[in-house]
């Protein structure tokens, strides 16, 4: 939990950014189609915060993120490096309700 939350602290204004295209298969949880730039040092927790912000949820819903069919378990930056991608290309990011037990984000 603590390492997961760390990514927000270092997400400063001048961090490298990448454009993401958020999508979900769950029509009840979809956000408007939009061009969104996010710091590349975001991890699951930061992205989950973002989607909740966009959905204006009263009670935060924990989300998991899939890029190219794989669950994001690192920062976006680490993912880009591993996949040999640059931040110049928009990234398609799919989100799903987190499979993890709710207590995991209980203190959110």
């Amino acid at each position: 939990m603590s390492t997961d939350a760390m990514d927000l602290d270092s997400a400063s204004i001048s961090a490298p950014r990448v454009q993401i295209n958020l999508s979900t298969r769950d029509p009840t949880l979809s956000v408007p189609l939009q061009s969104l730039r996010v710091p590349t040092n975001l991890k699951r927790y930061g992205l989950s915060t973002l989607v909740n912000h966009l959905l204006e949820t009263a009670k935060p819903i924990p989300f998991d993120f899939l890029i190219d069919g794989q669950y994001l378990r690192t920062s976006i930056d680490e993912y880009l490096t591993q996949a040999g991608l640059s931040s110049e290309k928009p990234l398609d990011v799919e989100y799903v309700r987190s499979q993890l037990p709710p207590t995991y984000i209980g203190s959110f």
């Binding site: 939350a5 927000l8 602290d9 997400a11 400063s12 204004i13 001048s14 961090a15 490298p16 950014r17 454009q19 295209n21 999508s23 189609l33 939009q34 061009s35 969104l36 730039r37 996010v38 710091p39 975001l42 930061g46 915060t49 973002l50 912000h53 966009l54 640059s86 931040s87 110049e88 290309k89 928009p90 398609d92």
Partner: protein
């Protein structure tokens, strides 16, 4: 007769003042034959590409030339005059006597007799980063380059240089050389739109340095320096760039940012309802910002409009190439009137 867009006054313009310089196309053909044996296929492709875009934007380019002439030329005192054996332009009044005299009265040329009081140095900066090709900006960018470079070189008010930027900033064409069709081909050949970073900070820093050097080389007391940045407008470090933009302004370098917003144009058209992923105007782009408020409650998320922090004060958003001449001259006119007010 081709009618210049937005400038009907110039139909049949200057029939007494025939420009005897080679048309760029002829220069281009000449360059082709001269280098024909050694030129690589790559260079020939670049030349063909330049010629294509030059032809595509010819009329718009003439329109921009004439609009800029109205803005820039009142500040130039140079006139073509006199009767010389060699010169810049033919004096048509001397042609009939010339023929009638069996080609003896051959002082048929006019020259620039006074040095211009004001000289311009214009740097064109081109975004070579991958986001340009990802956002399908390449076509509109090529058109913009050809249009602007040709209009400026026809204007004959000063020197043109071209730099590209991305991960690194590179000088493609220096101020000292005239901008020819071959220069245009070199510019196109120098662009890949594959650079994996967009270091706008480095661009502005390098530009200031190049302008400082160019000012030292130039003896003109009244030298105006202008930079046109052609880019999709996506960059980081807005605060730091803004600081450098202020420094450039302080050094009397005018920065005008031409945002190529190809996706914005596409969205406005028939694709409006299609769900093309992330292809929307830069004006609709948002940015997630996490800031620590220092209240011990952790970082706070804000979703802002990208353009709210855009670091350049003078910018225009181009969605169709037809918009460029009018918008660019309007931006320049605004800048000139503000500069005049400031004294």
């Amino acid at each position: 007769v081709t009618r210049l867009i937005g400038n009907p006054k110039h139909e049949g313009l200057e029939d007494m003042d025939v420009d005897m310089e080679l048309d760029d196309n002829e220069t281009f053909e000449k360059a082709l034959t001269e280098t024909g044996h050694t030129a690589t296929v790559f260079n020939e492709e670049a030349q063909a590409l330049w010629k294509l875009y030059e032809n595509k934007t010819r009329i718009l380019s003439l329109s921009l030339t004439e609009q800029l002439r109205l803005i820039l030329e009142p500040t130039l005192s140079t006139k073509l005059r006199g009767d010389y054996r060699t010169g810049k332009r033919l004096n048509m009044k001397r042609i009939i006597p010339y023929i009638a005299s069996d080609y003896k009265k051959d002082k048929i040329w006019m020259r620039r007799t006074k040095p211009s009081k004001r000289q311009y140095q214009v740097m064109i900066a081109l975004d070579d980063s991958k986001s340009m090709s990802e956002s399908r900006c390449v076509e509109l960018t090529f058109e913009s380059i050809a249009l602007v470079a040709r209009a400026l070189s026809h204007l004959e008010v000063g020197q043109i240089s071209v730099v590209s930027f991305g991960e690194t900033t590179r000088l493609i064409h220096p101020f000292e050389q005239p901008f020819t069709a071959q220069s245009g081909a070199n510019v196109f050949a120098g662009l890949s739109f594959m650079q994996t970073k967009t270091n706008m900070k480095s661009l502005v820093e390098t530009s200031i340095k190049l302008f400082r050097e160019a000012r030292q080389m130039n003896q003109q007391s009244d030298l105006w320096q202008l930079e046109l940045i052609i880019s999709d407008g996506i960059c980081e470090d807005h605060q730091e760039i803004q600081r450098l933009v202020r420094l450039a302004h302080f050094e009397k370098i005018v920065l005008i940012f031409v945002i190529i917003d190809a996706a914005g144009g596409a969205m406005g058209a028939e694709n409006y309802n299609s769900k093309s992923k992330g292809s929307s105007s830069i004006l609709d782009m948002k940015e997630a910002v996490f800031t620590d408020q220092g209240d011990g409650r952790g970082p706070k998320l804000q979703v802002n409009r990208y353009m709210d922090t855009f670091p350049f004060s003078y910018y225009l958003i181009i969605r169709r190439i037809e918009d460029l001449p009018g918008m660019l001259s309007t931006a320049l006119r605004q800048w000139f009137s503000q500069a005049a007010e400031a004294g």
